[in-house]
Amino acid sequence: MPMYSEKVMDHFMNPRNIGEIEDPDGVGEVGNPVCGDMMKFTIKVKDNRLEEVKFLTFGCGAAIAVSSMISEMARGKTLEEARQISNKQVAEELGGLPGNKMHCSNLGADALNKAIDDYMEKQKLKTGSIS
């Protein structure tokens, strides 16, 4: 078993914001079961802020902790602020990740960004249909 920090163990054993928002404003999925990690983020946006962030993750201890941590970091932030969160920052907030987990399991920021992209795309379509 890899050496995980106390924070990683806490977020792994007590993950925050698990689930899937029923009628989400944006959805972001990254990874696949072949590499071992897969994350699905759903978001609710209100007044340009992330009102709700939920995740589903198939993956190792690090992948679950990363998902939980970034969901907490992102909630309440503006979309611009949320986009600034990097995978590296998430790892730092978790007190570090084992070297071999930095790349494969540290995909939280990518998944969140995809969800925000999805939201923006949908907004464009909406405004497009009005005009």
Partner: protein
């Protein structure tokens, strides 16, 4: 918190009788078996007694046993030692895709050095087909090496049939019996093998103890050159305490296997029944019956192995997994891939290796905890949510 170890292939406690047998050879009888004087006498005698016990465990003659520091070393001596001695006889080696890395990795190196390697496929249980072996043998074939049983999924190979095919063509046959020795009755003559590897720590001997049976007429070159210890096939002063421990463990295995092997197998069957009775979407890896007594390997669908392992560890249950996250190289099990287990299920594999120490009392707790952990991890798995949605849609269609 009390712990339930279900990972006895990784390590097992040394029985006190084995430790007691070893202890005098550190300080009291510290002599070198090669010495011509009195101090060498007792250690030399102890090494030869251990050799007899190891030979008896596998039905060999004591002259045919070479002590090594691990099964990995024994596998290297068998394959590279034979390849080095083969000369102009040929350059083709046949093995299987489910071997231990101490076979597979040296075959990769030998390929770079100009050898031709054929890795035979296996069926969905992990078995090599003797007919496919016969077809793979050519005039250049110098060695066939196929494991007796797989340490990860437990499947037992038809070694007798495979060795008969190779004997028919006059090719030496090596078998890595590290997962089998001490758990299955083995007899080198009945099996018809030229070389066989065993590992002390797989049957309650000390770590760092192994041996290679080398049958009469099989020529090898040493990997470690120097003095004439181990008939010149393994130079270096003998690790007398480890050899004595290996011998003691081999003696215990020989005398008691009839008692503990069926007992552990029955316990394993009970665990299997209990898990499959309580946890949905569970898949068995390996052969349903033809497997080593202590091994059980299952895939828990929709979740990943390291997460399972960590949650079980927190509940005091110790197991191993074939997921990529639990391996240092981040690759999922080559064995599960070879038997055709889909990537997602390979990631969710759990490997149980029971020991003599386990009891039926462990089973309800392990079942309850694994059921809880599987349910919890599934509740946060996108794959499981997808499955539930699809099932729901199908129900609506019907």
């Amino acid at each position: 918190m009390s712990q339930i170890n279900l990972d006895y292939t990784a390590a097992a406690p040394l029985p006190s009788v084995v430790l007691d047998a070893m202890l005098p050879y550190f300080s009291e009888h510290y002599g070198n078996p090669s010495s011509g004087h009195n101090l060498g006498e007792k250690p030399k005698q102890a090494v030869e007694e251990a050799r007899e016990k190891v030979a008896r465990l596998i039905g060999a003659s004591d002259r045919e046993i070479i002590f090594t520091a691990s099964a990995s070393e024994a596998n290297n001596l068998a394959v590279r030692g034979l390849a080095a001695a083969a000369g102009k006889k040929g350059n083709h080696i046949i093995s299987s895709g489910v071997e231990h890395f101490s076979i597979l990795n040296q075959l990769k190196t030998l390929e770079k050095d100009g050898f031709a390697v054929t890795l035979l496929p296996v069926d969905k249980y992990g078995r090599v087909n003797p007919d496919e072996l016969a077809e793979a043998i050519n005039e250049q074939t110098i060695l066939i090496t196929i494991q007796t049983a797989n340490p990860e999924i437990g499947t037992i190979q038809p070694i007798k049939e495979l060795a008969a095919v190779s004997a028919n063509k006059g090719v030496p046959f090596h078998t890595d019996a590290a997962a089998a020795a001490g758990w299955l009755p083995l007899n080198v003559d009945e099996l018809g093998v030229s070389m066989l590897t065993i590992s002390g720590d797989q049957f309650y001997g000390p770590k760092g103890s192994g041996a290679l049976f080398v049958g009469k007429g099989t020529r090898l070159r040493p990997l470690i050159e120097g003095g004439t210890q181990e008939k010149g096939l393994r130079a270096g002063t003998e690790n007398v305490p480890a050899i004595v421990g290996l011998g003691e463990a081999a003696g215990l295995a020989y005398n008691n296997m009839n008692e503990y092997a069926p007992r552990v197998a029955a316990l394993r069957d009970k665990l299997k029944e209990s898990l499959f009775g309580s946890i949905p979407h569970l898949y068995l890896n390996g052969h349903p019956e033809n497997r080593i007594p202590r091994n059980l390997n299952v895939s828990v669908a929709y979740v990943e192995g390291e997460a399972l392992l960590m949650r079980l560890n927190a509940a005091g249950i110790l197991v191993a997994s074939g997921s990529s996250c639990t391996s240092q190289v981040l690759k999922s099990s080559h064995v599960l891939k070879a038997i055709g287990v889909p990537a997602e299920l390979a990631q969710g594999s759990l490997q149980f290796a029971l020991g003599k120490e386990n009891s039926t009392d462990d089973i309800p707790y392990v079942t309850e905890k694994l059921a809880q952990v599987a349910e919890l991890l599934r509740s946060m798995s996108p794959l499981y949510h997808k499955f539930l949605k699809e099932e729901n849609n199908n129900a609506h269609v019907q």
